[in-house]
């Protein structure tokens, strides 16, 4: 794969004397589903925020969609979608109003907004709830809506920070169906999760411990490397090695 979506080299973020992300280096290919694993506080969100242009790195380099994260954040922003760890649609706006707002600020025309709204509601089967406030939706639906809105402007990469946290298994499954659909269309997926079954769905995964990437391979490759039965074992071995 020559055509990388994300390339980082020794990307580092320090908060004072504390190093949250410690010289991470990796590449993610176009259309790949890249799992970003790690225990709480490992530095996943920090790394993701640097890649999205929300946080200035302390040192190291990175390119997202071919653009430099220090100097070309404006170009990057047009080409990425982001779902933050905190739910970030407007609870006091309806489903439709949220779609319209985000479509609008990404510069879609009224006609495009109309078509996309229709397609999105149809895909998520949310037509009946279109005029309801987002606050009234169950969490799983909110997350699916949030994901779809992050894709509204046809980005080439989406960053998902624990998109399925607290969501029931069935809805999680549906959520991953949405992820696969997008990946099939060539969208690069960069996703963090704490669910090991979800890790198995990824093309490749990296496991972070204390800000460093300790392992990076396909799920099958990792299991072989660590001589483990499941991804859970791999994860535990790495986390134990730390203490």
């Amino acid at each position: 794969m020559n055509n990388y979506s994300i390339v980082t080299k020794d990307l580092t973020k320090r908060f004072g004397s504390f190093t949250a992300t410690d010289a991470i280096t990796f590449e993610v290919g176009q259309g790949e589903i890249f799992g970003f694993l790690g225990a709480n506080g490992a530095g996943k969100t920090t790394a993701m925020r640097m890649l999205c242009g929300l946080l200035k790195p302390s040192s190291g380099e990175a390119k997202v969609a071919g653009y430099d994260i220090y100097t070309q954040t404006e170009q990057i922003k047009k080409r990425i979608g982001y779902m933050s760890q905190k739910f970030s649609l407007y609870e006091d706006l309806t489903v439709k109003e949220n779609i319209r707002f985000y479509g609008g600020i990404y510069g879609l025309s009224n006609q495009q907004i109309k078509e996309k709204t229709h397609a999105l509601l149809d895909r998520l089967q949310l037509e009946k709830e279109a005029r309801q406030l987002v606050s009234s939706l169950p969490l799983g639906w909110k997350q699916k809506l949030s994901f779809s809105i992050a894709l509204l402007h046809d980005p080439s990469i989406v960053f998902l920070d624990e998109p399925t946290g607290g969501v029931d298994p069935i809805t999680r499954r549906q959520f991953w169906d949405l992820i696969y659909e997008s990946a099939d269309k060539g969208v690069t997926i960069f996703v963090t999760t704490h669910y090991m079954d979800e890790a198995e769905y990824c093309n490749r995964i990296s496991i972070m411990v204390d800000g460093k990437i300790k392992a990076l391979d396909t799920p099958a490759g990792l299991k072989k490397q660590f001589n483990a039965e499941s991804m859970n074992d791999v994860f535990l071995q790495l986390a134990r090695a730390k203490s």
Partner: protein, 372 residues
């Protein structure tokens, strides 16, 4: 431009969907103005006065009657005993003492000049100011009539015996409400401008939606404009609404052109919105932002000349008021509404306000940029 339109649309949806917002916009001005009217009535009508009359002649009695007939004063004690009157003042029985000297009548006729003494209990500063203002204005009037009627003096020849500050001068009915209502409107506009705008921006941080906005190509300046503009509009509407209520309920006079008030308010609001924005860059929750804004507004309002005249503040405090935007607006709105001031009178203050707006918004935007 289109981006701003989408933000504005979202903001207005959210503002009007917020259950506490409509009562704030419509109930607050009415309640504040009505409560004020109640307080104002209390202060005007119930001033009690002790008259210490050392003369006891016809004219001194006339002066006394004129004071009580004005409706502002009621006679508490009438005696020739200064000690008794001082005690009344100390115990709070009397709000002020008028001392008429011995030979009041004789000196007035012979020398054309006489001094009366007015002692005011100044524990309540604004009440004292009003009491002194009313009393001296009535005495002044009495004085002028004597000169015209009995002494047949030409008004221009006689020296002015009393000086009444312009605030009462331009409020000939001496109506406390006329003086206070414009000031209260300033406070209303200020609250909408500084409080609501700051809280509105911090809310995005608190909810986490700001993260989502920051990954969109939205320009910061568009975001800020879209967030602040609704409150600029609402506050100006609030001013119009409050003026209408003042007109209908209190028959508030508008001597000057009300357009100047709106022109000044539109610039003044930029200052307040800038303040809200600046505070929002320092705070992470709506509560923090509310407390900090409250802190500033209390100082601004207390030192604005709304309740205590700036002229009666100590010199260092007067210097501080030069940096108080609220003081400027209180002054200008009273000038235009009560005195009929126009462009030539307000342009200096408008210029000061523009400088404030540019500086404050400059700092706020610069600070906002740093915080990604």
């Amino acid at each position: 431009m289109r981006t701003i339109f989408f933000i504005l649309q979202k903001e207005f949806l959210q503002i009007f969907r917020n259950r506490s917002m409509l009562p704030i916009i419509f109930a607050m001005p009415v309640v504040q103005l009505l409560v004020l009217a109640f307080a104002a009535n209390y202060e005007i009508k119930n001033l009690s006065i002790d008259v210490v009359d050392h003369d006891g002649g016809t004219w001194s009695r006339q002066l006394r009657d004129k004071l009580t007939a004005s409706g502002y004063f009621s006679l508490y004690h009438q005696s020739a005993n200064t000690a008794q009157a001082m005690e009344d003042l100390e115990t709070g029985g009397a709000d002020l003492i008028l001392t008429i000297p011995r030979h009041f009548e004789r000196d007035l006729v012979r020398e054309n000049e006489v001094r009366v003494q007015l002692l005011v209990n100044a524990i309540n500063g604004s009440k004292a100011g009003l009491a002194a203002g009313y009393a001296s204005s009535i005495i002044n009037d009495f004085n002028r009539r004597i000169r015209l009627d009995w002494l047949a003096l030409d008004e221009d020849d006689a020296p002015a015996h009393f000086d009444v500050s312009y605030r009462y001068w331009y409020n000939p009915d001496m109506n406390y409400k006329y003086f206070m209502v414009p000031g209260i409107l300033v406070v209303l506009v200020t609250m909408i401008g500084a409080f609501l705008s700051g809280m509105n921006i911090v809310k995005e941080k608190e909810m986490g939606t700001i993260e989502q906005l920051n990954v969109t190509p939205i320009r910061k300046i568009h975001f800020i404009t879209g967030k602040l503009l609704p409150f600029w509009i609402i506050a100006l509407f609030e001013l119009a609404f409050g003026l209408t209520v003042g007109k209908l309920v209190f028959h508030l006079p508008v001597v000057g052109n009300i357009g100047w008030v709106f022109l000044f308010a539109s610039v003044y609001l930029l200052v307040m919105l800038g303040l809200g924005l600046l505070i929002s860059t320092f705070t992470d929750t709506q509560q923090q932002s509310m407390f900090i804004t409250w802190f500033f507004l209390i100082i601004f309002v207390l030192m604005s000349g709304l309740f205590t005249p700036i002229e009666s503040m100590p010199p260092w405090a007067q210097k501080i008021t030069l940096f108080n935007p609220v003081a400027y607006f209180v002054k200008v709105i009273r000038m235009v509404m009560l005195k009929g001031s126009g462009w030539a009178d307000i342009r200096y203050y408008l210029g000061v306000m523009l400088v404030f707006a540019v500086v404050l918004n400059g700092i706020a935007v610069w600070n906002y940029r740093k915080t990604v």
